[in-house]
């Protein structure tokens, strides 16, 4: 019973250095994966709502596959299996030293761990983002698409100018939630050896067994990142026509 708390063992010397680079790595992988997720989500959404049946079926299949398997298993698949299926020339290039792609604090951007984490996070989140936006589309009254079509807009033009802007406003809060989720899920990249916050926290635990203090600092860092990201993204919330921000209209998620 009882334990004493000593933050000096965590916030000085090598542990502090590890935490700083870990924090930085989490931020970098979150940004890289968010950009990738946004592009892939657009692509998936485009396929999922196109007027071409095979395209819709393929997109629906991909979405079901990624939604119904654990992210950790997907990440292991990309890292242990898919990476090995790449041509050996590409693998050797990724494994080589890239001083130009190494951030201060020795954070390599071209490494199997970083690439697999970014790809895994991007792909997983893209599926959820695409589905949130599609839910926003499905929630629009049927009259909206009928009115657009009757005005002479084609399938894509009606989506681009009439339906998607409204759907994005409706689903903005939920989409922000998915990007926040991406950031939190990056903690699982520790399983394939990406040296982000969680990895460093576990390293401190085995280095000087200040487990509780290290977990406290790690928890604080994730909460801080989540708050900052949430604030930043809500600043971009689309305005509703009634003047309220889209985000405030929904329930707090």
């Amino acid at each position: 019973m009882g334990f004493s708390v000593d933050f000096a063992g965590v916030l000085s010397g090598p542990p502090l250095h590890w935490l700083v680079t870990g924090f930085f790595t989490t931020i970098v992988v979150t940004i890289a994966a968010s950009v990738l997720a946004s592009l892939l989500a657009l692509l998936l959404l485009g396929l999922r709502i196109s007027d071409n049946r095979p395209a819709r079926t393929i997109a629906a299949g991909i979405i079901e596959l990624f939604r119904n398997t654990p992210f950790l298993v997907q990440m292991m698949f990309w890292y242990f299996a898919a990476f090995g299926l790449l041509p050996s020339g590409i693998r050797d290039w990724i494994n080589a030293d890239h001083s130009w792609a190494t951030l201060p604090g020795n954070i390599p951007l071209v490494s199997p761990e970083f690439i697999a984490s970014t790809w895994g996070l991007g792909m997983f989140s893209a599926v959820f983002i695409a589905e949130e936006i599609r839910a926003g589309l499905l929630a629009l009254p049927k009259g909206q698409s009928e009115a657009a079509l009757s005005q002479g807009f084609g399938h894509w033009a009606s989506l681009r100018h009439v339906l998607l802007p409204q759907a994005l406003t409706n689903s903005f809060q939920a989409v922000v939630g998915q990007y926040l989720n991406l950031m939190k899920l990056s903690s699982l990249a520790t399983a394939i050896g990406l040296a982000e916050i969680t990895y460093q926290v576990r390293q401190i635990e085995s280095y000087n067994s200040h487990a509780i203090e290290a977990f406290a600092v790690g928890t604080g860092l994730y909460l801080l990142l989540g708050l900052a990201m949430g604030r930043l993204m809500l600043a971009f919330a689309p305005k509703r026509r009634d003047g309220r921000r889209g985000a405030e209209a929904g329930h707090a998620a």
């Binding site: 950790l72 242990f80 487990a211 509780i212 977990f215």
Partner: protein, 231 residues
């Protein structure tokens, strides 16, 4: 049999139920057991918290929501760490990894159950509550006899979806070396080294069958008009 499939065949029993013969369930069986145990705890705990939030106002209600947001604001892996390290530190004596994972998942999911249950209660028309109160039922009776039974029926699909997420979340038990499906699959992968693609595709397929089956079930329930036995 091609060696890629043979590796699954030779490890099939280990992937499905671990060392069941020695009395240590593992693999898929352990994943399902963890999900069931934490699911029951989360359901009971989450509904109890929703009831508490329903009756409370001011500070207590705010504390409940801050607690739920805090839990959902940090990665699940940290919730597992906290339970795994803090419980022994506070109460002395280590707890088995499996138990700490069950408690952590239950704690994490109870917050989601609380939110769904509250929104299910709020989605019932206000007339239900007023009618019940006007027949002379107390606030307590109104909730337990009139509102909650209706809300719970409507909430079955969302509880089933939460359970599917819970099954996927059991894979995080890997982090504290609990031999559930993901852990066992990565052990088999480390031991054989040769066929990661088959091993992880097979593992993903097992989860897919379970979770995909549950989401089909949800869709089936949702399509059926809500049984209106109470009108």
């Amino acid at each position: 049999m091609p060696p890629e499939l043979d590796v699954i065949w030779r490890n099939l029993d280990y992937l499905l139920w671990g060392r069941m013969a020695q009395g240590e369930p593992g693999g898929l069986l352990l994943s399902v057991l963890i999900a069931l145990a934490s699911g029951v705890l989360a359901l009971v705990g989450g509904i109890a918290l929703a009831v508490l939030a329903w009756f409370s106002s001011g500070l207590l209600r705010r504390v409940l929501f801050v607690w739920a947001d805090l839990i959902r604001g940090i990665p699940l892996i940290f919730v597992i760490f906290w339970v795994y390290f803090l419980v022994p530190a506070l109460f002395g004596g280590a707890i088995p990894g499996t138990v700490s994972v069950i408690l952590a998942l239950a704690w994490f999911s109870a917050a989601a159950v609380m939110y769904s249950t509250l929104s299910g209660l709020e989605a019932l028309s206000g007339g239900q509550r007023e009618a019940a109160l006007s027949t002379g039922l107390s606030e307590m009776q109104t909730l337990f006899v009139v509102l909650l039974p209706q809300a719970l029926v409507n909430l079955v699909p969302s509880y089933v979806s939460l359970f599917a997420s819970l099954i996927k979340d059991t894979s995080l038990a890997f982090i504290v070396n609990v031999p559930e499906l993901t852990m066992v699959a990565s052990q088999v992968n480390n031991r054989t080294q040769l066929y990661p693609t088959t091993i992880f595709l097979f593992t993903a397929a097992l989860y897919f069958v379970l979770c995909g089956g549950l989401s089909l079930l949800v869709r089936k329930i949702m399509r059926r008009p809500v049984a209106a036995s109470w009108d």
